[in-house]
């Protein structure tokens, strides 16, 4: 372990070894604000790419017995703007556009006529809190079949009555637990939770679960700057759990 070597030689060796560390200094570019925006965007893109790869389309998120469901009063309301965009529930229809064979307006009754499932699953917020809730609706895949969607397309975009907008990858949309949700705790969705229809996907973070759905669009292209309300401000686009 211990060597005896001339002073000059020790200095020469030390300098040489020190220089070999130079590549580590490249991490210093993160200290420059102008540069780090782009580097961090690349870091998030890489994370999203890895997330897409880790996503298992048939692996079910954990479900819970009724006894572990958080009481309805303790299920938080979260909105980005208003908690009630005052949707006219009587006249409400869901607009379907894009890569579908049967575009047009669909009523809530048509959606409720599809096979219904209820599930107690965990809702995870990007802020770090989580609640186990009870959700009812029809798997998105049923509805995509009804409208004749091209499920080989890449994305499902939604626009909301409160001007929120979201987009999810097709694999997540087709996941068996991904719902077009019209019930919580066995009751029709209340106005603050997104009446009459919202997304509910236990494999996605809360900000992907758009409320007050207005339009669904099947598409292969997302417009830059229009990939999701929070995502356009810096959240991870995949947002998967």
């Amino acid at each position: 372990m211990i060597s005896q070597l001339p002073e000059k030689e020790l200095q020469r060796q030390s300098r040489r070894q020190l220089l070999k560390l130079a590549p580590v200094a490249a991490l210093g570019v993160f200290a420059f604000p102008k540069v780090n925006d782009r580097l961090l965007a690349a870091g998030v893109r890489f994370s999203d790419w890895a997330s897409g790869g880790l996503f298992r389309s048939q692996h079910l998120a954990q479900t819970f017995p009724d006894s572990e469901v958080v009481p309805f009063e303790k299920f938080p309301y979260n909105g980005y703007d208003v908690l009630d965009p005052e949707v006219d529930l009587e006249k409400w229809t869901l607009t379907v556009e894009g890569e579908v064979r049967r575009p047009g307006e669909y009523t809530l009754a048509q959606i409720q006529a599809l096979p219904k499932i209820s599930q107690n699953t965990r809702h995870v917020c990007v802020e770090g809190w989580d609640v186990v809730g009870s959700f009812g609706g029809t798997p998105i895949s049923n509805f995509l079949r009804l409208v004749g969607a091209d499920t080989g397309a890449r994305f499902l975009e939604v626009d909301c009555a409160d001007d929120y907008y979201e987009a999810i990858d097709m694999a997540s949309a087709l996941h068996p637990q991904s719902l077009l949700c019209y019930e919580m705790y066995g009751q029709p969705l209340d106005r603050k939770h997104g009446a009459p229809l919202r997304l509910q996907m236990p494999t996605k973070l809360g900000y992907k679960q758009a409320k007050y759905l207005d339009t669904i669009r099947v598409t292969n292209v997302l417009k830059p700057g229009k990939t999701g309300y929070w995502e356009d401000q810096g959240y991870s686009w995949f947002g998967g759990l």
């Binding site: 372990m1 211990i2 060597s3 005896q4 070597l5 001339p6 002073e7 000059k8 030689e9 020790l10 020469r12 060796q13 030390s14 300098r15 070894q17 020190l18 070999k20 560390l21 590549p23 580590v24 991490l27 993160f30 580097l39 961090l40 965007a41 690349a42 870091g43 998030v44 890489f46 994370s47 997330s51 880790l54 996503f55 298992r56 692996h59 998120a61 954990q62 958080v70 009063e73 303790k74 299920f75 938080p76 965990r122 995870v124 917020c125 990007v126 802020e127 770090g128 809190w129 989580d130 609640v131 236990p202 494999t203 929070w230 401000q233 810096g234 959240y235 991870s236 998967g240 759990l241």
Partner: protein, 275 residues
């Protein structure tokens, strides 16, 4: 073992250009003997003999050890940077929900001052976290793989035989007790610290995977006590690092420049332990 090979290689490099008997030249004392790195030195004219030969000062041997191979130094510094970013951005993320209890009613457990955090807002902090977690994991995996493959881990893995040496060392550092004799590159207290740091790293990684992908890694989530509790373990792992870092930095300061420089150049001058 790769580590010993490394040393062997280093030694050979050292002895290769060893000064050979040579005519004395007109040059100021202390100037470099002709070596491959300093070919200019041979240009000087030899002095007329006879003059008693003088042993040049620079050939007097210095005790030194090549303590930190390149892989260790690179991973140490990448890891240090990544850990700084992950802790400060992690605290910013924690600010978004500073509790481990329910969302309703929410109790603020800790109000982390913004000045200690990185990212500006939750989304910005998440970007730092999601970028540097890859550097952290990559440097950690390379570090552990290198330690295991080279066998170098034996110099710093805390084992039961190190237990009796912990207290005398702690007494020396914190209570001005007598200094126990150095037996190896790392003393028992250092081994304990470095081994725990690896433990905190493993805990951060496993809990981080669950927090990032609780549905995809539901089995691991179950083993760690569920998603909700895992967030607490992730925080505990950070607290472990926050306990380790000040002690580590104090020791670096106490042990001086030559010790610090060894993590940059690999070479440590006059190590205090015997061969």
């Amino acid at each position: 073992m790769a580590h010993e090979n490394n040393n062997q290689e280093a030694k050979e490099q050292i002895h290769d250009p060893a000064p050979t008997p040579e005519p004395l030249r007109a040059k100021p004392p202390g100037e470099v003997a002709p070596t491959e790195t300093n070919p200019d030195a041979v240009d000087s004219e030899p002095l007329p003999l006879p003059v008693p030969p003088v042993q040049p000062r620079e050939t007097e041997p210095v005790r030194a050890a090549y303590e930190h191979p390149l892989a260790i130094r690179v991973t140490h510094w990448v890891n240090a940077i990544a850990l700084f970013v992950l802790v400060t951005s992690g605290l910013r993320i924690f600010r978004a929900f500073p509790s481990f209890g329910p969302k309703i009613p929410e109790k603020v457990l800790l109000d982390i001052p913004k000045a200690l955090t990185l990212g500006g807002w939750l989304g910005g902090a998440l970007q730092w976290h999601f970028t540097f977690m890859w550097f952290f994991v990559a440097s950690g995996l390379v570090y552990v793989a290198y330690q295991v493959i080279s066998g170098h881990y034996r110099t710093l893995l805390f084992t039961p035989s190190d237990v009796p040496g912990v207290w005398p060392m702690a007494r020396h550092y914190f209570l001005f007790g007598p200094k126990p004799p150095a037996t190896g590159q790392y003393n028992p207290l250092q081994k304990l610290a470095y081994t725990s740091a690896i433990g905190f790293g493993v805990l951060s990684l496993l809990t981080g995977i669950v927090l990032y992908k609780p549905a995809q890694f539901s089995g691991l989530a179950f083993l760690l006590g569920g998603f909700h509790l895992t967030r607490l373990w992730h925080f505990v792992a950070m607290c472990g690092f926050l306990a380790f870092i000040p002690g580590h930095l104090i020791m670096v300061v106490l042990h001086g420049w030559s010790n610090f420089y060894s993590m940059l150049s690999g070479w440590k001058r006059n190590p205090e332990y015997p061969a």
